[in-house]
């Protein structure tokens, strides 16, 4: 996967309103998608799935637009990938490759490689209705692969996976991106911050349909710098003018995230975690 720093696509002030009341699901989303892995994080109902569907052209924006090269192809892997009940992975992949404009020899080759790469050889001729959840998810990835997608959008791909399955998923992604014709960029919606920290280069935080942060994982963490503490006691003294204050239990005390201008002397500085940076970004007032 190339890591030059030119964005592959740019989203400008995207807005989607739905329902009779035209309530905004996405209010003002703007960001640039760079090569590599970008995590899309935010609270439940922040607009992550809507944003992915907009980029995949499932929805149309009410306002704003997406700027990208004309020949850029986008693959979308939904949270709960569906299947055609009677169609086997091999036939589905072959048809998809042909529909995307490939000739028969190239489509056959890509289908073969996709089955191999996504470990679907054993289930290649199994009707879709008999595939388990993991196989359906890998088939959805394989579909993006046979189309030669430049950008792949994944909606909570690891939400129900255990740590070993999650590792296998990221190994698949790594293997895929190493291919010469593999995708250049991934946008991955997730609630799992350890995954963002462990695998992604960049992160996009949205909340209530608005972009709250866009940048590197290290930069997001650094936003909580000088606001993170460790204490033996939980919060007890009055919150002196702080607009943000959290405390949670650790094995040996309490972790505190606070923007108090004068924190108590017994609070010791703590290295910020991604969670700290995420909360700072959501509150939108990091200094």
């Amino acid at each position: 996967m190339s890591h030059d720093q030119r964005p592959l696509l740019e989203v400008r002030r995207l807005r989607v309103a739905r329902g009779r009341a035209q309530e905004p699901v996405l209010a003002d989303a703007s960001f640039k998608l760079y090569p590599g892995y970008t995590a899309l994080i935010g609270p439940s109902a922040a607009g992550k799935t809507t944003l992915l569907r907009l980029l995949a052209r499932v929805y149309r924006p009410t306002h704003g637009h997406v700027v990208m090269a004309e020949n850029l192809t986008i693959g979308y892997v939904p949270e709960f990938p569906g299947v055609y009940h009677r169609l086997s992975p091999r036939r589905l992949l072959m048809r998809t490759a042909l529909w995307s404009g490939l000739g028969v020899p190239e489509a056959t080759l890509r289908t073969h490689r996709a089955l191999d790469q996504m470990r679907l050889n054993d289930a290649a001729d199994t009707p879709g209705r008999r595939l388990d959840e993991g196989q359906r998810r890998r088939l959805a990835l394989a579909l993006a692969f046979v189309q030669g997608a430049d950008v792949v959008l994944l909606d909570e791909p690891t939400a129900t996976l255990d740590p070993r399955q999650r590792l296998a998923f990221w190994q698949d992604m790594y293997t895929w991106s190493k291919q010469a014709d593999g995708p250049k960029a991934y946008l991955i919606a997730t609630h799992h911050l350890a995954e963002v920290d462990g695998y992604c280069q960049r992160v996009l935080v949205i909340d209530r349909g608005r972009t709250r942060f866009e940048g590197s994982v290290a930069h997001l963490k650094s936003r909580a710098q000088s606001h993170t503490y460790w204490s033996q006691e939980s919060l007890s003294s009055p919150n002196e003018g702080a607009w943000l204050e959290y405390a949670w239990s650790l094995a040996d005390g309490y972790a505190i995230l606070s923007d108090r201008p004068h924190p108590p002397s017994e609070w010791k500085p703590r290295t910020p975690s991604l969670w700290d940076g995420y909360v700072m970004a959501l509150r939108g007032r990091a200094r």
């Binding site: 439940s44 609630h191 909360v279």
Partner: protein, 293 residues
């Protein structure tokens, strides 16, 4: 104390999920393991939700096999699915539960409100359960469980589908609960295990392969986790590996260092994965040993 002693647990005749399984927990703990290892089954068996359980089950010093009413008096259980009475508001639901526990009306209403506040659900008290988001439903069910002053709290996949802030709220609450009663939770996230910070039990193939503290689990991987430049990755001898955000190196799990390997401080995830790798002898672990392209 919770104990499964020489238990055989079956959903279908002659197809045991556990056979002669024994586990004793004297204090709060977190159960983790690969999908299908039997985490949820162990909790369900203790509640009497599995058709056949042979052997001895104990809560405290009470033997509870077949005495499921007795078991349920001393246990609160949060199942893996979000099933709520959809026609009630959250406030009505929690108040009803408090009433069932014997509280008078006014007290039940106050208790329900206070529990909702602990789970940051105060704003949702007047909303019908059907209008709650997935994460809110999960927290509402947990609030219902916490209302009952039981001896043990069994929580199956407490944080499933929760966003990062909701997850932090729930785990912190369980951590606090564990200071005055037993909490046994299952999870698929090592973050939960870390933040809960109690005894960890790893199940694999319906057997316990690790029991100990998070610190001990993490330490297990010390000296076995390395950052290896791609040019030095030895395909033939590659064990477990993990991509890194940087493009020119991999994290590699190996018994010993090789020239050019940079040893990494292990994380809890590393401790868990190393424990699985070290215990892999069966064929299905080829998955972890796949080659790097």
């Amino acid at each position: 104390m919770l104990e499964w002693d020489q238990c055989t647990i079956e959903y279908q005749p002659n197809r045991p999920v556990f056979e002669n399984f024994s586990l004793r927990l004297d204090d709060s703990a977190c159960l983790i393991g690969p999908a299908g290892c039997g985490k949820s089954t162990l909790l369900a068996a203790m509640m009497g939700f599995v058709p056949r359980v042979d052997g001895r089950l104990r809560v405290g010093n009470r033997q509870i096999n077949g005495l499921w009413d007795l078991a349920r008096q001393h246990l609160s259980y949060l199942g893996p699915t979000n099933v709520l009475p959809l026609h009630l508001t959250l406030g009505e639901y929690l108040t009803e539960l408090a009433r069932l526990d014997g509280l008078p009306w006014l007290s039940a209403i106050r208790t329900a409100a206070s529990m909702a506040e602990r789970l940051q659900l105060t704003e949702a008290l007047g909303r019908p359960n059907r209008q709650l988001s997935f994460g809110m439903k999960r927290r509402a069910l947990l609030a219902g469980c916490l209302l009952k002053p039981s001896e043990w709290l069994l929580v199956d996949h407490a944080t499933l589908g929760l966003d990062p802030e909701e997850r932090r709220t729930v785990i912190d609450l369980l951590h606090r609960e564990a200071s005055h009663r037993g909490v046994l939770m299952t999870t698929i996230h090592l973050d939960d295990v870390h933040d809960f910070g109690k005894h960890v039990v790893i199940l694999r193939g319906s057997q316990v392969i690790f029991g100990g503290s998070t610190a001990v689990l993490q330490e297990r991987a010390r000296g076995h986790v390395f950052r290896v430049p791609l040019s030095l990755v030895d395909q033939e001898r590659l064990g477990g590996w993990q991509p890194l955000p940087e493009v020119d190196a991999l994290k590699v799990f190996r018994q010993d260092a090789q020239p050019g390997y940079q040893e990494l401080l292990p994380s809890l995830d590393d401790g868990y994965l190393w424990t699985l790798f070290a215990s892999s002898e069966d064929a299905d672990d080829d998955e972890e040993r796949r080659h790097v392209p």
